[in-house]
Symmetry: C2
């Protein structure tokens, strides 16, 4: 696939929008076996798989309260301050998502409303292998807490020394969560989905992970366990016009590409010369980055396109990127053209990094084009809305005839009977 296209025709778009794909057939078999083993043997199976996959089995599967309280000692003061600042911003942004709806009187005597209630038991999977994603713990646990979830279980793999990463523990500590289970991979997902001797079965599972984790989430979801989403490879699209700062655009594309070899970055610009300047800047910055090799692999999936403004947004809306940066001084105006995206960053001073960590928005976002229909994780993800209705005598009188007529027309006469029997009583 060409990674650079100048004014591609509409016929070429579908190929340009193709995302990296993976063979998952054998994966499903392996993961099914892991899940079945955990369902059968519980905690012991989780330990066995730790030994098998990571070369060690944690002695205690649960982190102690003391370990959680002590984590602070092992961390840099500035990192702790950073985490607390991020926590405050994420809380501030997510707090407004608790919305109280009014009771609606649809007709005299007929009152209807919705009430948001927390999902009772939630499980958060936090990757801890190559990168301990304590930021993801903040992103999941904060909306869970705001939603009112009381029973929150964290599962995360232990490090080689049998301990959980201190930054993950500290994040749990400042959030007041003390249920941390040392389990990684598909086995941890199975433990939360079905319960073990020591893990409560949860109602909904959240969190990203490697292909085993994602496959396990997919399989338990098919079996009726709710999940937040199936997180595919991460994506960033940038729309950059002549008011962008190419150096920044290059840095943003590089930052996305370091997530993994399967990440995808897209640059769309109306001007060929901007594309050229961004590429120059990429090669200037790349040598100084730690994850240079991953970035180079990821860049094999890149798409750099020249398209005029109108076509550019049509393309981007059809692609529906997880992250979209509008690198332009007119970003706010241009944002009206966005129809499908997970999270949008406006202007030259809004890098994706900011949203990944500390601005306040959530970084758990829809990938793989699912932004057309799905939203990222928010307080909404941790609640369900129950409808209530209270009808009195006057209400039954005012809607009774409509219910009778409609149920009769649908051939449901017992529905009609339930109204009629009440109407009769009222006449007495």
């Amino acid at each position: 696939m060409k990674t650079i296209s100048i004014n591609p025709s509409k016929k070429e778009w579908p190929a340009l929008m193709e995302r990296p794909t993976f063979e998952t057939k054998n994966l499903e078999e392996t993961v099914t076996q892991i899940i079945n083993e955990v369902r059968e043997k519980g905690d012991e199976a989780v330990k066995d798989f730790s030994l098998q996959f990571h070369g060690f089995a944690p002695k205690n599967l649960w982190v102690t309260k003391e370990e959680i309280r002590n984590a602070s000692k092992y961390l840099d003061g500035s990192l702790k301050r950073a985490m607390i600042l991020a926590k405050k911003n994420i809380e501030k942004f997510h707090h407004q998502q608790i919305l109280k709806e009014k009771k609606i009187v649809t007709l005299p005597g007929v009152t209807c409303w919705r009430k948001s209630l927390p999902i009772e038991k939630v499980g958060l999977y936090i990757p801890g292998g190559s990168a301990p994603l304590f930021s993801t713990l903040l992103m999941l646990a904060i909306p869970a807490k705001i939603a009112g979830c009381k029973n929150i279980t964290i599962t995360t793999p232990a490090q080689k020394d049998g301990n959980v990463n201190a930054a993950i523990l500290y994040a749990a500590y400042i959030l007041g969560i003390y249920k941390i289970y040392k389990g990684g991979g598909a086995q941890a997902i199975a433990a939360m989905a079905y319960g073990t001797q020591s893990v409560d079965k949860v109602d909904k599972i959240f969190g990203p992970g490697n292909q085993y984790v994602t496959c396990a989430k997919k399989l338990v979801n098919r079996d009726g366990v709710a999940i937040d989403m199936l997180a595919g490879p991460s994506e960033l699209a940038v729309y950059a016009d002549e008011t962008c700062i190419p150096e920044f655009v290059a840095a943003d594309l590089l930052s996305q590409a370091e997530h993994g070899a399967d990440s995808q970055v897209i640059l769309v610009t109306p001007k060929r010369k901007i594309l050229d300047r961004v590429i120059e800047d990429i090669y200037r910055q790349l040598p100084f980055l730690d994850r240079k090799d991953i970035i180079e692999q990821s860049f094999l999936n890149k798409r750099f396109l020249v398209l005029n403004e109108n076509k550019a947004f049509n393309f981007l809306n059809e692609y529906a990127p997880e992250h979209l940066i509008i690198a332009s001084k007119n970003a706010e105006k241009l944002s009206a053209l966005v129809k499908n995206a997970g999270s949008v960053f406006l202007g030259n001073m809004s890098p994706e990094s900011a949203g990944d960590y500390a601005s306040g928005t959530n970084h758990s976002l829809p990938t793989g084009g699912s932004a057309k229909t799905f939203s990222g994780v928010s307080v909404d993800s941790f609640i369900k809305k129950i409808t209530f209705q209270k009808i009195n005598k006057q209400g039954i009188k005012s809607i009774g005839f409509a219910v009778e007529k409609m149920s009769e027309a649908e051939g449901l006469t017992a529905h009609k009977n339930a109204i009629r029997i009440r109407m009769k009583k009222l006449k007495k």
Copy 2:
């Protein structure tokens, strides 16, 4: 399974909560074949399957505008008035679900907000076989319209005469929807999921149906097409205390049971004598109902339990019914005990029939225990919420250090670079 249990112990509860299940293995093979055929041959395949399954193939797959406009002629005036009253109430209740969130300044220079945008292309499946569910069309299309969906496609099977039921057409007419495709079953779901020569591929599919439809929705969903939910057999639980009216409780249980042989009704009461009186009333009313045979079959799945108030609500929350009636004068107070349910009806004058048709709440609700994590269809089902953020120079200064520290601790130095490169520029 015993259908009546007096004070069952907690150990007996899981068996009492079991829902009717069905073998779907062969179904998946058949439905996969149907889907593949539609993907390959499009409209022709839809026609062929109509011929094969319903004994006729509609000549024109699309209902004409004229047919939609003329539907009114074939309907009773009182049914039309009933539908218009229902429409108004449903609109009134769903209108409040459009909530505008404020822009949040998490720190000076860092502004974050969410924006609700409609899902662009939605497809509504409306069953039209044994019962033409025009009420479902109101329940789906009204929130779609309020959400701002512009591209709404309806698929519904034609009757033997090649026409779509007039009440379905009239509902579409009063809603201003003119895209109605004559297709039923799995083939209609496939047409919307993948598109045909004449059907636009949609982004999300809504609507209930028989086992073929549900299986098709499950399969296209696994392939990445969004769906509202997998509608299982319908359920009603009633909590009735000594202030209930047994005659009404009986009527409500009967009305639920007529949905299908696989429907489940549950009655929980703290008093044995209420249970007995409800049963008496059921046998008094049953002989007069058209769908007596279906009700009798469905009643094989019933659960009538005596449990004290506290245990009753624990049981009901664990079961998580689609519909819950609290048949009590204290219903509003008792409603605080509800943790999991799709839709709750409070008091003796709030039959489920009312919510099924005309009170204003939605009747597309989570079944099979998914009320623990899912909400019924609402305006939320037709939108996605995109997060936006705009950061300025001051903002980058205030969160820059936190992003740098945290990304560094997660080993993502290109993320740090994207901030650092901006911070440097600011210092110049």
